[in-house]
């Protein structure tokens, strides 16, 4: 499930005042931290600590790294288990939950049998009931990394910030001024064509898009999905701080990341229904021109 650029941008970032930008390549994309802090060197160190964290996560989560947790999971024979890190189990638990929630439209195993992986989040163990399940956290790992980077920045006292991975996984924390971070959603094929403007704070945003003639394969049918050029998801970031030794973190960007991938495939009716029963959830869908409609927008009930 290769995501093309999602057509998300910060509008006129130079007019936002003292926002510093830091960039780092990881997970085959560019992660960035936009931050406001009076001490530039301190902000750079905080951003670097966040980038070191993405590098560590990539070593654990990438299926392209032969000695990562995920590579070990992908090599499991029937009946075998492997010990994984807290981050790996959290990503897998989130991915499994999103698989269930989207009726299999979000599937990190791309049809190879996600339910055959048993997750034991109390002992951080993954077991396979059959061999050959191949997982790829590409649709959730970047968002998860963004969630953890944001936690780290807040721990450093950097509250006014926006973090993103390739602008397909975005988390807006406190805004530099006014009501929110000014974001635009654009046609991925024609970025100058702005479809919608948002002003967001404490909000996760996921974006998926395809270039023309590219297609995402539907894991439920194996067929290329058609009819949609891009999908965006926004959801508020809950701020429940649970004790560190109790359960997976609430990772809003990981969830948004997974949802937007699923929303490239789910029917408009399914998406509308999920939004209708989920307070705070918002979705934008850009159909192919042949579908005859422009941008569709759904939002859940007020919280």
């Amino acid at each position: 499930m290769e995501d093309a650029a999602g057509g998300v941008a910060i509008e006129k970032p130079r007019e936002l005042g003292d926002v510093r930008r830091f960039s780092h390549e990881a997970m085959a994309t560019v992660f960035e931290v936009y931050a406001v802090h009076p001490d530039g060197a301190y902000a750079a160190q905080a951003a670097q600590a966040a980038f070191d964290l993405t590098d560590r996560l990539e070593r654990e989560l990438s299926r392209f790294v032969p000695n990562s947790d995920i590579s070990r999971v992908n090599r499991l024979a029937a009946g075998e288990s492997t010990q994984v890190t807290t981050s790996t189990i959290e990503c897998l638990v989130i991915a499994r939950h999103m698989f269930d929630l989207t009726g299999g439209a979000f599937d990190i195993s791309i049809g190879t049998g996600l339910p055959s992986l048993e997750l034991n989040p109390d002992d951080y163990i993954v077991s396979a009931t059959k061999a050959g399940v191949q997982v790829d956290l590409g649709g959730v790992g970047k968002g998860y990394a963004v969630d953890l980077m944001a936690e780290l920045l807040e721990e450093w006292g950097v509250q006014v910030a926006l973090v993103h991975g390739g602008f397909s996984s975005v988390l807006a924390l406190e805004p530099p001024a006014g009501g929110g971070w000014p974001l635009t959603l654009s046609d991925p094929a024609a970025p100058s064509r702005v479809l919608s403007r948002l002003s967001v704070r404490q909000t996760a945003l996921g974006a998926s898009g395809v270039r023309k003639k590219d297609h995402i394969r539907d894991p439920r049918t194996g067929e290329p999905a058609r009819g949609r050029l891009a999908a965006w998801v926004a959801l508020p970031r809950p701020s429940f701080v649970h004790p560190v030794d109790e359960g997976p973190r609430v990772a809003a960007t990981a969830v948004a990341d997974a949802l937007t991938t699923a929303f490239m495939l789910m029917s408009t009716e399914e998406i509308e229904a999920l939004c209708a029963r989920t307070p705070g959830l918002e979705a934008w869908l850009l159909p192919e021109p042949s579908e005859g409609t422009d941008l569709l927008h759904f939002e859940g009930p007020a919280e």
Binding site: P121, Y124, L198, Q202, F240, T278
Partner: protein
């Protein structure tokens, strides 16, 4: 509209969490966390049986981590996967941050370590400890290691052994005197790919012939100095007590003389260790140039750029080995390249880059036997120059491109796990250490001499006796 309200992030309190999914519809998206909460509640009821699991045939080893910084966390991450270990204690002077974080991680894995700021207090109180993992700054290694050995513990100590050869010698002597194990963290010594190259490709098959030149590097891009969250700064009196003048020095001790050894020691030591291992000899001479060319001399003392040439008298004849480390451009990362008259081996610890490539010299005997034995891969045909019609053209000005093979052995576990496993196997009496302190001492002699040679601006020589304790 997302974010247009000014209420701030949505607050979920514990009651909502425990009430669960049905009463809070928004939880649908985050249901995994609440399900886990419920699981956790029920798990607590069954806690009586939640003793760290170890199969009955694995002897439990009680361990402590001394130094919970970046390297201590890397070791911890590998150790949670090794059966039969029980963390009893973690010690770090950064109690506000690293100590707390590592203890919390270990608790998630059902260890119950006690937390200490002072290692002497830990050694006094933790009577059941079998082994201590020392991952403190280099200038603390000598005291920490010797005190742990004298307290009767087996010790795994990170490289570099010490900032001084005297310190390193004292460590070797303490290991001998106490009869305890002292493994040094040159983890490539236990890496299956390096072991395969040493034992099979160089030792048995002699694929490289006579190695006359070696080159290697560890290049890193520019990064800001390490910082720390303001709110978790260590009080000045505690920093002073443990030998640091301020928080910057505590976080960036590797750049300071007397505390660390600079990039040539942090990075080069791992690879220069491999030079001597694979060549079967310690160096006879060293020439080096280096300087602080880029970073601010106000808070960086060691050389950010170092280039070294060693001379070796190997069992097969003389050889020269080049090594560079620089910290301003990470291109091509790190590798070691052994060039013999019959073949070339490029290797690195990384599973992604330079994970073992071999080139056979066209005049060398065929390698078919070793391909059949599975020691090396079948050759991959090198790209030849093609005309627009697709016919290959021989270019007489250049050597014929050699066959390219790969080393068919990789590491499937985290990088440090095999070396740690080797240590714990030795603790259980089932293995010999792959890098005992005498071996690491020889590497320390070769590496620490580089900084001396840079300062002396002249070629320095080693005596064979220099490498012995």
């Amino acid at each position: 509209m997302a974010g247009e309200n000014d209420k701030g992030p949505r607050k979920l309190d514990r009651r909502e969490v425990l009430m669960g999914l049905s009463t809070v519809p928004a939880l649908g998206l985050f249901g995994y966390a609440w399900n886990k909460q419920r699981q956790h509640q029920s798990a607590k009821l069954a806690e009586a049986v939640a003793v760290p699991s170890a199969s009955p045939d694995v002897q439990v080893v009680n361990v402590a981590l001394l130094g919970a910084g970046a390297q201590g966390q890397v070791l911890t991450d590998a150790m949670i996967r090794i059966p039969g270990l029980r963390f009893r204690a973690v010690c770090d002077i950064w109690t506000e941050y690293n100590l707390r974080r590592v203890v919390n991680t270990l608790k998630r894995y059902k260890h119950e370590p006690n937390a200490y700021e002072d290692y002497r207090e830990m050694l006094d109180k933790e009577k059941e400890l079998d082994a201590v993992m020392v991952a403190t700054p280099d200038f603390w290694h000598e005291r920490h290691t010797i005190d742990c050995l004298k307290a009767g513990k087996q010790v795994y100590c990170e490289k570099e052994m010490s900032t001084t050869l005297e310190g390193a010698r004292n460590m070797v002597a303490a290991a001998r005197e106490t009869g305890k194990l002292l493994q040094i963290g040159h983890q490539r010594r236990s890496n299956p790919r390096y072991l395969h190259c040493y034992d099979k490709l160089i030792g048995e098959a002699k694929l490289l012939g006579r190695v006359v030149t070696v080159n290697g590097q560890w290049n890193r891009g520019v990064t800001p100095d390490l910082g720390a969250p303001d709110r978790y700064a260590i009080p000045a009196d505690r920093l002073k007590k443990y030998g640091f003048k301020d928080m910057h020095q505590f976080r960036n001790w590797r750049w300071y003389k007397g505390l660390g050894g600079g990039p040539i020691v942090d990075l080069g030591s791992h690879q220069i260790d491999i030079y001597s291992w694979f060549l079967g000899a310690n160096p006879s001479h060293v020439t080096a140039s280096g300087g602080l060319l880029y970073y601010d001399p106000k808070n960086h003392e060691w050389y950010d750029t170092v280039m070294v040439v060693y001379d070796y008298a190997t069992p097969l004849g003389p050889a020269k080995a080049y090594y560079q480390t620089q910290t301003t451009n990470g291109s091509q990362g790190y590798f070691e390249n052994f060039m013999g008259d019959q073949g070339t081996l490029i290797i690195s610890e990384s599973e992604l880059n330079y994970a073992g490539q071999l080139y056979r010299d066209p005049n060398a005997p065929a390698w078919d036997e070793w391909i059949q034995k599975g020691y090396i891969s079948a050759p991959q045909v090198q790209e030849t120059r093609a005309t627009s019609e697709g016919a290959a053209v021989a270019d007489v000005r250049e050597s014929v491109a050699p066959d390219r093979h790969t080393v068919p052995v990789s590491l499937k576990d985290p990088y440090h796990q095999p070396h740690l496993q080797n240590f714990f196997d030795a603790v259980r009496g089932k293995a010999k250490l792959n890098c005992p302190s005498e071996v690491a001492y020889e590497t320390a002699v070769a590496v620490l001499k580089v900084n001396e040679a840079i300062e002396a601006k002249t070629r320095l020589s080693f005596d064979a006796a220099d490498f012995k304790v």
